[in-house]
C-alpha cells in the first residue's frame, strides 16, 4: 500500500501539468490526486490516524479559507472545519466515490455547515460585517506549515480560470451564493433582480462550470 502511494505521489511529474481551459478541464494530476485521496479515505475507514492527518493537512487550509469566507468569523470558522473533519473521521463511509471526488465532498461538508450557521445567525453576521470590514483576520495560534499541496496550485488556477470565463452576471450570483452564503431569494432582493433571473443565471453558470471542471458537455 505504501508503495502505491509513493507511486501516486511521483505521478504528477510524469503526467505533466494540469490541462485547463478546454472541456475536459482537470485531468491527469487531478485524477492521480483523487486516487490518492480515495486511498487515504479507505485507510481512514480502517481508523488510520496517519491517513487522517495527511488528509487534514492537505485540505484543512482550503476548508478554513472557505469557512472564513462564508462565516467572516475566524473562531466560528475553525470550529466549523473541526466539526466537518470530525464527521469525516467518525463516518468516512459517508463518502461515495461514485458521486464525486474526495476534495469536493470535503469542501461541500464544510460549506453545508457554514451556510447552515449563516442562516441561523444572520444577525451575528451583520455585526461581524461591520467589525471586520477592510480588516485582515488571522487566527491567534501559530499556524501549521502548509504541506502536501501537490496539485492544488493547478486546481486553484483551473477553478479561477473557469470562474473568470463565466459571464460577469453569472459569476456574480454564483459567488454571492457560494462564498457569500446567500440564498437565491436574498440575492434577488440585494441585486434588485427577479428571482427567475437569479435562478437562470445560476443554472447557466453552473452548466458552464460543470463543462469546464468536470469535463462533461450538456
Amino acid at each position: 500500500m505504501a508503495q502505491n502511494l509513493e507511486t501516486l505521489e511521483r505521478a504528477p511529474a510524469e503526467f505533466g501539468p494540469l490541462a485547463g481551459g478546454a472541456a475536459g478541464g482537470s485531468v491527469g494530476t487531478a485524477d492521480v490526486t483523487d486516487a490518492r485521496d480515495r486511498e487515504l479515505m479507505a485507510r481512514i475507514a480502517r481508523a488510520d490516524d496517519d491517513a487522517f492527518r495527511r488528509l487534514f493537512g492537505r485540505y484543512a487550509p482550503t476548508a478554513m479559507a472557505l469557512a472564513q469566507r462564508v462565516l467572516r468569523q475566524p473562531h466560528l470558522a475553525e470550529e466549523t472545519v473541526q466539526e466537518a473533519f470530525l464527521s469525516v473521521w467518525k463516518n468516512p463511509t459517508a463518502y461515495d466515490a461514485q458521486r464525486g471526488s474526495v476534495r469536493a465532498w470535503l469542501m461541500s461538508t464544510v460549506h453545508h455547515r457554514a451556510v447552515d450557521l449563516v442562516r441561523r445567525e444572520e444577525a451575528q453576521r451583520r455585526r461581524a460585517d461591520e467589525a471586520v470590514r477592510d480588516v485582515d483576520v488571522a487566527p491567534e495560534d501559530p499556524a501549521e506549515v502548509i504541506v502536501d499541496q501537490v496539485g492544488l496550485p493547478e486546481e486553484r488556477a483551473a477553478v479561477r480560470r473557469a470562474l473568470e470565463d463565466l459571464p460577469a452576471e453569472q459569476r456574480q450570483v454564483i459567488e454571492l451564493m457560494y462564498f457569500g452564503g446567500r440564498s437565491q431569494t436574498q440575492i434577488a432582493a440585494e441585486l434588485g433582480l427577479p428571482l427567475g433571473t437569479v435562478k437562470s443565471r445560476t443554472l447557466l453558470g453552473m452548466r458552464r462550470l460543470r463543462a469546464a471542471l468536470v469535463g462533461l458537455e450538456r
Binding site: 487522517f52 464525486g100 471526488s101 487566527p139 477553478v159 457560494y178 453552473m206
Partner: protein, 251 residues
C-alpha cells in the same frame, strides 16, 4: 417539452442552487417533494446532483489557503477518541450481494436468528469507527434475547427496514438494507407514535444502503413507528408524510 423533460429542467435548476447552498428551507422542502414524486432513484437526477456537488465543492479551491492552528488535526482525533479499531469487531451478517434478503433472514423465526448469529449466510458488515460495529453486535444480542419482537416497515420506498425491540429492557434497533441514498443535507428520521403524537426517535443515513441504528424511544409503548425524510440533522415534528410505517401491535 415532455413532462419528464420539464421535471428534469426544474430539478436541475434547483440542484444547481442546492449545491451552492442557495436554497431556502422552503425551497429545500420543495425540492424534496419534487424528487419524491419524480423518483429518488432517477439516474439522471442523481448524476446531476453528483456533478453539481462536484462543481460546487471544487469552487472552494479558488481561494488562497488559510492558516490552520497548530495541532488542529490532533484535536479532532482527541475529540473523536481515535484509535485503531479492533478487527474482532467485524460482525458477520448477510451480504447484500449474496442474494439473501435481510427480511427473509430475520423476520419471525428463531432459526433465522440462529443463521444470522452463526454467520451461515456469509458476508460481513464492518461498522463505522464510532458506533457501527458496536451497534451490529448489540443488534445481534437483542435479536437473540427471549421476548424480542421484529416488525417490518412497509411503505413506498425500495429496500427493507425492520425494528427489533424487547419490552423487558426497552432496547430497540432499526435495521435494514438497500434504502435509497438521500440528497445531500437530508436524513431519514424515525418517529414513535403514541396515539397521534409522534416523538422524534433518531435519524440515520444509508451506508451503502445498509443501516443499523439504536432507537431513542420506548418502542414497546408505541402504537406505530414511522420514517420521514427531513433536513439534517433532524426536526422536532414531521414535516411530510411518512415513507415507511410499522404497526407495533400489542402482544
Amino acid at each position: 417539452m415532455s413532462r419528464s423533460s420539464q421535471e428534469h429542467e426544474r430539478i436541475e435548476e434547483m440542484l444547481a442552487a442546492q449545491a451552492l447552498g442557495g436554497l431556502s428551507s422552503r425551497e429545500l422542502a420543495e425540492l424534496d417533494e419534487l424528487r419524491l414524486e419524480h423518483g429518488l432513484d432517477c439516474a439522471e437526477c442523481l448524476e446531476l446532483e453528483s456533478a453539481y456537488g462536484e462543481v460546487a465543492g471544487r469552487l472552494a479551491f479558488a481561494l488562497e489557503p488559510a492558516a490552520v492552528p497548530k495541532g488542529a488535526a490532533d484535536r479532532v482525533l482527541r475529540r473523536a477518541g481515535a484509535g485503531r479499531r479492533d478487527e474482532g469487531d467485524v460482525v458477520r451478517l448477510p451480504s447484500r450481494d449474496s442474494g439473501w434478503r435481510w427480511s427473509r433472514a430475520l423476520v419471525g423465526a428463531a432459526a433465522a436468528v440462529v443463521l444470522l448469529v452463526g454467520g451461515a449466510l456469509g458476508g460481513y458488515l464492518v461498522g463505522k469507527p464510532d458506533s457501527g460495529a458496536a451497534d451490529s453486535q448489540a443488534l445481534t444480542r437483542l435479536i437473540a434475547e427471549p421476548g424480542t419482537r421484529v416488525v417490518e416497515f412497509r411503505g413506498t420506498t425500495r429496500g427493507t427496514l425492520h425494528v427489533a425491540f424487547n419490552p423487558a429492557d426497552e432496547a430497540a434497533y432499526v435495521f435494514g438494507s438497500e434504502l435509497p441514498p438521500l440528497p445531500a443535507g437530508r436524513v431519514y428520521e424515525l418517529w414513535a407514535f403514541r396515539g397521534r403524537n409522534p416523538a422524534p426517535s433518531g435519524t440515520f443515513e444509508t451506508d451503502g444502503g445498509v443501516v443499523i441504528v439504536p432507537v431513542s424511544a420506548d418502542v414497546s409503548r408505541a402504537s406505530m413507528m414511522a420514517v420521514t425524510i427531513e433536513r439534517a440533522p433532524g426536526v422536532k415534528k414531521p414535516t411530510k408524510p411518512p415513507i415507511l410505517t410499522a404497526e407495533i401491535a400489542k402482544a
